[in-house]
């Protein structure tokens, strides 16, 4: 019995730590989405599909053109950033004065486009990078280096964004526009330019997430559906546009998924996470950190 408990605890600890590692990547995804929501007041339903395109870019650069991973990564980030800016320019900008629901549904259309584009162009096979990173073993616990690397890179990415937002003029303008979009135009800030930069930044974060996720998951056209919904849940749970709330919510949900997956299938982990989300909507409808009015 004692031996059983020992083993059990090790697994529990491993699941907790893996949850934290998963939370890092989710936090990165949530940050990009929150940034766009906070500044432009638009929800990109197709956000996870941008990540999917980025994963394909990584796959083709590394597998077909033999580019090294560390050169392919910045290229991918640039590509997805350009896609983000393009998405804003082509789809969101003409709809800025339309009801917000229309913008959201238009990005839903982009979701269809990106998914089926990937189906048509790349086929529905599962592909992977073929890079197998070693497994780190501490005591009886196993962690994949891919996850550790992702976690570290996600944290670095978030710190870079934080510094950009607080230390540069453009970053300050972005934060200011998130607070009051009418006044900032009077202060001489070109809102259109800021929107475009923010969209590119959001795209870049999706690109970074793609570079990290491609190490852990196979790419296929519908891979976006596996982590897209959970990203939206995190953003709503943390309060849309609330960066810190999103950060905390990522780890909370990641732990639920990881621990739920420990006790039964991974899908049940997701079901628990969704259920938790629903309960939280009762208790704190405006997000984890929202003050009660």
């Amino acid at each position: 019995m004692q031996a059983f408990l020992d083993i059990f605890d090790i697994y529990l600890l491993e699941a907790v730590l893996n949850g934290i590692l998963l939370g890092g990547v989710l936090a990165l995804l949530a940050l990009g989405l929150n940034l766009i929501f906070g500044v432009i007041d638009v929800t990109w339903i197709c956000y996870a599909e941008l990540v999917m395109i980025g994963m394909y870019a990584m796959y083709y650069l590394v597998q077909y053109f033999g580019v090294s991973y560390f050169i392919a990564a910045p290229l991918t980030i640039l590509l997805v950033a350009a896609l983000g800016a393009l998405l804003h320019y082509l789809v969101i900008a003409p709809l800025l004065t339309a009801p917000p629901i229309n913008q959201l549904l238009a990005t839903g259309g982009v979701l269809f486009i990106l998914q089926s584009f990937a189906t048509v162009a790349f086929g529905i096979d599962f592909r992977n990078l073929g890079i197998r990173l070693p497994i780190l073993t501490i005591g009886d616990m196993n962690f994949s280096y891919a996850r550790l690397l992702s976690f570290a890179a996600a944290l670095i990415g978030m710190v870079v964004v934080y510094l950009f937002m607080t230390r540069t003029f453009t970053g300050t303008a972005i934060r200011a526009i998130a607070q009051d979009r009418q006044i900032m135009a009077l202060m001489g800030v070109d809102a259109k330019k800021i929107y475009l930069i923010t969209s590119a930044l959001g795209g870049a974060l999706a690109g970074l997430a793609a570079c990290l996720l491609v190490l852990q998951y196979d790419v296929h056209p519908f891979v976006g559906l596996t982590f897209g919904p959970i990203t939206f849940l995190i953003c709503v749970l943390g309060g849309l546009g609330n960066f810190i709330g999103g950060f905390i919510a990522s780890f909370v949900l990641a732990e639920i998924i990881s621990l739920g997956g420990l006790f039964s299938d991974l899908e049940w982990g997701y079901v628990f996470a969704f259920g938790f989300f629903m309960v939280m909507m009762f208790i704190r409808p405006a997000g984890l950190l929202a003050r009660r009015r």
Partner: protein, 329 residues
């Protein structure tokens, strides 16, 4: 009797008589699909037209289809009893999700994302309980034993396309009738006021939560019923075809392309989407995989930007200026 009433009756009679004169199974099959999906899209638009954009309807449809099929397979419960059970389940789900949303004023983006979570949950539950539901491989209701007419009716399984056509036609007409009833009720005015300004509507004495819950419940029940119908007709359901986010988005797409604010708009949307998908499938065979969705996506974006009223909605607007003929539509 007005001219338009007579026209309406002629069209209806033609629709009813059609399967008795024209029996080409493939075309009837397409008509049945169009009618069933029109019903589903109409139920989505019941909410959508009042600004309650839900991406959770894939979830309701999945509940309707799977509960009916599971009760039939595991408990031998006829769909005549199973479908009411499925509707109750979908109704409870709608209330559980809807009440907090409306009580706490979750609107706009938040509402969309919460309902998105709902279809996510239903999809994951179906996948996770794969020992019972077959997971992503799909699920088939058991064939009725015996071929007597009685057992077929009991199992609600017909091989005959014409029978299904008539059933689907009836369901579709009932859907339009419900639309019409709501269109003429106080609920419609209340909900329109709510979609303009919730606080003002509440101040004017509209019970915001109750009105929203009412329309959500109607919409969810109808969607679940559409799911059950689809299951009984196709005799095969999988999470991809009746549940999940893709189905929810498909509803939104068809409703918007057809026209969200007019009764026959979702039907026009269903005709366009299904004919488009079938044309591509026949024209390009397996090479068409993905192309239909690619075209859907491009069309959806273009429509939202340039023609948010949808095809039928925009056409009617143009006509309405000239004549009163379109009163019925």
């Amino acid at each position: 009797m007005k001219k338009s009433d007579i026209g309406m009756i002629v069209v209806l009679a033609a629709l009813v008589v059609l399967p008795f004169v024209y029996r080409e199974p493939y075309h009837l099959h397409l008509m049945v699909l169009i009618l069933i999906w029109s019903f589903a899209y109409t139920s989505w638009s019941m909410m959508g037209r009042f600004g309650l954009v839900s991406l959770g309807h894939g979830g309701f449809m999945g509940v309707g289809a799977y509960v009916t099929a599971l009760l039939w397979n595991y408990f031998g419960l006829s769909p005549w009893i199973g479908i009411p059970f499925a509707l109750v389940a979908a109704g409870i789900l709608a209330l559980v999700v809807g009440y907090p949303c409306f009580r706490f004023r979750i609107t706009g983006h938040y509402f969309v994302l919460v309902t998105l979570a709902l279809s996510g949950i239903v999809l994951q539950v179906i996948t996770a309980t794969r020992d019972y539901t077959g997971g992503s491989l799909g699920y088939t209701p058991a064939r009725a034993t015996g071929s007597s007419i009685g057992s077929r009716i009991l199992a609600l399984q017909f091989d005959d396309k014409a029978t299904w056509y008539l059933i689907a036609l009836l369901v579709w007409l009932v859907g339009l009738l419900i639309w019409r009833l709501i269109d003429r009720s106080m609920t419609r005015y209340a909900l329109e006021a709510i979609s303009e300004d919730e606080d003002a509507a509440a101040a004017a004495g509209v019970n915001v939560t109750a009105e929203k819950l009412k329309i959500t419940l109607i919409s969810a029940l109808m969607t679940a019923f559409a799911g059950a119908m689809y299951c009984q007709y196709q005799m095969f359901i999988s999470p991809d075809t009746v549940s999940g986010i893709a189905v929810s988005l498909q509803m939104v797409f068809a409703a918007i392309v057809g026209g969200l604010y007019v009764a026959l708009g979702p039907t026009v949307g269903a005709i366009i989407t299904i004919l488009l998908a079938e044309t591509l499938r026949i024209g390009f065979g397996t090479g068409a995989v993905g192309w239909d969705n690619l075209i859907y996506g491009v069309l959806l974006v273009l429509f939202i930007i340039f023609l948010p009223q949808g095809i039928l909605g925009s056409l009617l607007e143009r006509f309405r200026a000239r004549r009163k003929l379109v009163r019925w539509i």
